[in-house]
């Protein structure tokens, strides 16, 4: 994870992937005042109508284009496509890994089978020139939009942020806060295991205290 430039604050976000998740993240990031570009593995022409109608204001770009100018890149491609992604594309970038691995539902992807590693550790292991933070993966995309609340709301929901680089985790935490969620910082990518499918907070819409209680209960039980 050498060579990444950790921005002091984020202005431009690139979202890679335009399936169920990517467009929702792009739209709420735009709402929060970020400049947002979105890209798939193909031509931006195929995305133009989708961005116009579903996320007006978001820029459809080629992936390399979108990444080049971004302070932060959100990775929301189908996880089984990740092994084919060229790590050079993301070299030097702060990357938020919003992907999930759950073999019973998505099939086996060999490089993610090592039970000792969280899926984001595997992602970091391949993206050696990037700084990877795990976040935006644990609330279902169906609720990501409506679940947002202004800072200070009693019923504000939490989103976990896991990373080895604390500066980078803080920067991502700020982004999560601006989008409308309480960031719960976890000390390491390995600790991000708790955010994964099968973990105590995956797929749940929790306030910070509910989130922390669920984590604590899981830690006591394991």
């Amino acid at each position: 994870m050498s060579g990444s430039v950790i921005p002091s604050s984020v202005r431009r976000i690139a979202v890679l992937g335009a399936g169920h998740v990517g467009p929702v993240i792009a739209r709420i990031a735009l709402d929060a005042g970020f400049e947002v570009a979105i890209a798939t593995s193909g031509s931006p022409d195929n995305l133009e109508l989708i961005t116009q109608v579903v996320m007006p204001g978001v820029d459809a770009r080629w992936a390399a284009d979108a990444v080049r100018t971004a302070d932060l890149v959100v990775l929301s491609i189908p996880l089984h496509r990740f092994p084919a992604l060229d790590p050079a594309l993301l070299a030097g970038k702060l990357v938020v890994d919003a992907m999930n691995y759950w073999a019973p539902a998505d099939g086996v992807v060999a490089i993610f089978q090592d039970q000792r590693l969280s899926s984001s550790e595997v992602v970091q292991g391949r993206l050696t020139q990037s700084t990877v933070i795990k976040s935006l993966n644990q609330i279902a995309y169906q609720y990501l939009d409506d679940g947002r609340r202004p800072a200070g709301s009693l019923d504000r929901h939490a989103i976990g942020v896991a990373g080895d680089d604390s500066d980078a985790a803080n920067v991502v935490g700020d982004v999560i806060d601006r989008i409308g969620y309480d960031p719960v910082l976890l000390g390491s990518l390995k600790a991000g295991r708790i955010l994964q499918p099968g973990g105590p907070v995956f797929g749940a819409v929790f306030t910070r205290s509910e989130f922390e209680r669920a984590m604590h209960t899981a830690a006591v039980q394991s």
Binding site: I50, H80, P104, A105, Q142, D146
Partner: protein, 367 residues
């Protein structure tokens, strides 16, 4: 309502201005239990589904759909066979899939089966194609989930060719090619209506428009209103591809009983049981009574309650999404035949007329 119901655009009250309002029921062949909560056999559950389809016509439901599933909770892998039995005993109701998992099926066989169903039903067959949100059929038929997207893309492409009629020449990567191949039975009066079930991917919406298939929004969690941009995207994509407007439908789960309390009481334990099971397979946290209440409320995706409650929610969401069709996915593994029959009767005799009334009221010009 004639067999050309959803085929012919016309001015109407309610729903989208271009297409008649269609109110249907869907089932996944949810494994039924008797009054003592003992599981019925798969065979008895299937026979009950046939009776439910026949009853649906009798009480005025427009469409009866069966979604392909492959588990003990939903023992319904051959939906088209069951639909054929219903078609043979009915005259008016449309019958179709909800959905057919095209990715793990052969498009030629799907076409042949639904073209046969269309023949038996005299033009009442419809098919809703989906990628499959449950993936049980992939290992069963030897398909690799790594090809999840490509399988669907390619097979939809072939299905669209088959629907045109006439000999088919087609080439792909995941299925053997066809060279000037005659595919029977021919349809009598043009292609049967084909939908694509969309769960939340805007690229799937554009794909439906590209092939000229209607759009079925599968809304099973979260706020239905968040699908509104998808309706706009669909209409704009149709325009971009030079196609005429096509119907938009909503598929959502629910349960109707005499009162809100009774409906919730019957549904919640069954839903909790099945979602808890699913959560283990899919790795998500077990839902709470609170998350259930959210889904039942006006911002959620479950249509549960008295006929009035459910009708109000259906009418509101049809308007919000500019849709002309709503299919209520009724039943839940463990519910009894009696409670399903009551649900169907109330849906046909109370919910449907009330939805029509509500939509007619809201489209009336100022007096």
């Amino acid at each position: 309502m004639t067999s050309s119901t959803a085929e012919t655009p016309r001015e109407t009250t309610g729903g989208s201005p271009r297409f008649p309002l269609v109110l249907g029921l869907d089932t996944f062949g949810d494994h039924e239990h008797d009054a003592e909560d003992r599981p019925l056999s798969h065979a008895q559950t299937i026979r009950n589904v046939v009776e439910e389809g026949v009853l649906a016509e009798q009480v005025g439901v427009d469409f009866f759909g069966i979604g392909e599933h492959h588990t003990d909770d939903f023992p319904m892998p051959a939906a088209d066979v069951v639909l054929a039995a219903i078609a043979a005993r009915t005259k008016r109701i449309h019958v179709g899939s909800a959905v057919t998992v095209l990715s793990s099926d052969d498009p030629v066989r799907v076409f042949q089966r639904f073209s046969t169903l269309n023949a038996i039903s005299k033009g009442r067959a419809e098919v809703v194609l989906g990628r499959g949100s449950s993936i049980d059929s992939f290992p069963l038929f030897g398909y690799d989930l790594a090809n999840y997207e490509e399988l669907f893309e390619e097979k939809v492409n072939l299905f669209a060719e088959l629907l045109k009629g006439g000999p088919v020449t087609w080439q792909g990567n995941l299925r053997p090619s066809l060279n000037n191949q005659d595919v029977v039975p021919y349809t009598e009066a043009g292609p049967f209506r084909t939908w694509i079930g969309v769960g939340g991917s805007p690229q799937s919406v554009v794909r439906a428009a590209h092939y000229g298939f209607s759009l079925m929004l599968a809304i099973i969690g979260g706020s239905p209103a968040r699908f509104r941009p998808f309706s706009r995207l669909f209409l704009q994509a149709l325009e971009k591809f030079g196609r005429e407007p096509l119907p938009i439908g909503i598929h959502s789960p629910g349960h109707v009983a005499e009162t809100d309390e009774k409906a919730l009481e019957e549904f919640w334990p069954r839903w909790l049981h099945i979602i808890t099971k699913m959560s283990k397979v899919r790795g998500f946290a077990i839902p709470t009574l609170e998350s259930f209440r959210f889904e039942v409320g006006p911002q959620g995706a479950l249509f549960i309650g008295s006929p009035e409650t459910v009708a109000q929610k259906i009418a509101a969401n049809l308007q919000t999404l500019g849709a002309n069709r709503f299919d209520l996915k009724f039943g839940m593994p463990g519910l009894s035949p009696d409670s399903l029959i009551r649900n169907i009767e109330l849906y046909g005799t109370k919910v449907i007329p009330r939805v029509r009334e509500l939509l007619a009221e809201s489209t009336q010009p100022d007096a």
